[in-house]
Amino acid sequence: MAKGVWIVAEQRDGALRKISFEIASTARKLADELGDEVCAVLLGSGVEAMAAELAKYGVDKVFVADDAALEPYTTDAHAAAVAKVVKENDPAILLLGASVQGKDLSSRLVGKLATGMASDCTDIKIEGGKLLATRPMYSGKTFGDIVVSGTPQMASLRPNVFPAVENAKAGEVVKFDAGLDAGALKTKVLEVQKDASGKIDLTEADVIVSGGRGMKGPEGYSVLEELAGLLGGTVGASRAAVDAGWRPQSDQVGQTGKVVSPNLYIACGISGAIQHLAGMSSSKYIVAINKDPEAPIFARADYGIVDDLFKVVPELTAAAKKIL
């Protein structure tokens, strides 16, 4: 019978991504309820040393495949390697991150393993020995509780939602052969163009200061940058600001942009259209600054200031400087 809670760890450029610790910790919690072990799959070239870090977050065993063809990530190489080790070991549950890479890999695995997956979950538990995953649907206008009848029961977890909790376990390394035929792989990464800004990605940020049409132009964003910098966060934007060419597409939050879950989301000059809310309503705390008291964003905000953002934001920065 299928047994064990498995995760696929995500690493890039020689370091594990934060999401790996979030899924490891969540897997630990589920495994403790089931009385099972947590196993991680770790793929890449020269990655074995990272196993110790996974162990810190509750992983009992780390299945490591070291193969040049696994670096950098490609869908076909990683999906083939994970599918192989999963089929050999028959876990009950398989968790991945709903990061860009995790979404790509997990969906391909659903096909390879002929199973089901609850994607981009915001809550997960065991009920009656089975996985019960909760996820936003209809852009967060409803939530669905998903039951997976296929094996393994798969779920991908929304980044920044599940806490990473240290809980050291053995992290015993089990090496396996990914069994790849490099010549048969059909996708290849030709180039990785790093963002010159070195900006924290919105999906991974703890604090986001976002600006909309109320910013009046690209220049206005410097006050947001300053506040975000002070709070250790990053800057986002509404679609109106992106479509106006003030900010890059990678900054867009919402239905046709990124879905974010920071601890704090500060919306400046954003009305709160339903498509914008779709991207940020799972934020833990929301602050809205808008000069229109009727703006729908206030209905979602924990704290609101009705005023001119160009007067308020510099004062937020000044007040934050005093205590930070």
Binding site: T187, V192, A288
Partner: protein, 256 residues
């Protein structure tokens, strides 16, 4: 080139979504149905590909009778023909069953490149394109913002956290589209007229030799958890209001 674009009909993004009292799904009355926005990017890229290399675009969609309207919209944008899979066993099916039905339909027609949206904005599951590729034994490049095809090679740009990848693959392949890939065209009036006469085959799962097999189910739907009402900070002095918010974030919310 034989081009396929998969589309899904979904509630308009503005639609008010109400969960049925028994949590079995959503109330469908009064909803305006549209093509999922990411599928529009897929259809547009399919049409651009055809305009560059010649060939035909076939639209494939699954859903009840009303879905025909969305197929016609894609035909009005410029696609040549459609396949509408209308089978109650597939309404609100999970990603695996959906992809299996699409694969069964697409296996039966020539296909050099297949476009899907990166996700449909109803169930938001974002899996179908990749499962479809796997079932057809094709490579997939997902969530892309740029595509260049040369001979039997496709090069695509895919943004990831903090970087962009340039990925190469070979045709036939499955591509999933995201915003930034293109600006979808509107259907013209002559386009709409012509679309009415374009061929659309309506099929059941059995016509495709398919037994529908779901691998996951939505046990229950519920409205989003209620958020406690927020605090509007009163006063005329921006500095005082700002200081109060910073205090609350520090002392009450404990997020800074």
């Amino acid at each position: 080139m034989n081009i396929v674009a998969c589309v899904k009909q979904v509630p308009d993004t503005e639609a008010l979504i109400k969960v049925k009292a028994d949590g079995s799904g959503i109330e469908e009355g009064g909803i305006k149905w549209v093509m999922s926005p990411y599928d529009e990017f897929g259809v547009e890229e399919a049409l651009k590909t055809k305009e560059k290399f010649g060939g035909e675009v076939t639209i494939v969609s699954i859903g009840p009778a009303r879905t025909m309207e969305t197929v016609r919209t894609a035909l009005a944008m410029g696609a040549e023909k459609g396949i509408h899979i209308d089978d109650p066993a597939l309404y609100n099916a999970d990603a695996y069953a959906t992809a299996s039905a699409l694969a069964a339909a697409i296996k039966g027609i020539p296909h050099d490149i297949i476009f899907c949206g990166m996700r449909a904005i109803d169930d938001d599951s974002g899996q179908v394109g990749s499962i479809l590729a796997e079932l057809l034994g094709l490579p997939s490049v997902t969530v892309i913002t740029k595509l260049d095809i040369e001979g039997s090679t496709a090069k695509a740009i895919k943004p990831i956290e903090g970087a962009q990848l340039l990925i190469e693959t070979s045709l036939p392949c499955v591509i999933t589209a995201q915003k930034g890939l293109n600006e979808p065209r509107y259907a013209s009036l002559p386009g709409i007229m012509k679309a009415k006469k374009k061929p659309v085959e309506v099929k059941k799962a059995a016509d495709l030799g398919l037994t529908v097999e779901q691998k996951s189910t939505v046990a229950k739907m519920s409205p989003p958890p209620a958020r406690p009402p927020g605090k509007i900070i009163q006063g005329d002095d921006p500095a005082a209001k700002a200081a109060e918010v910073i205090r609350l974030l520090r002392e009450e919310a404990k997020v800074i």
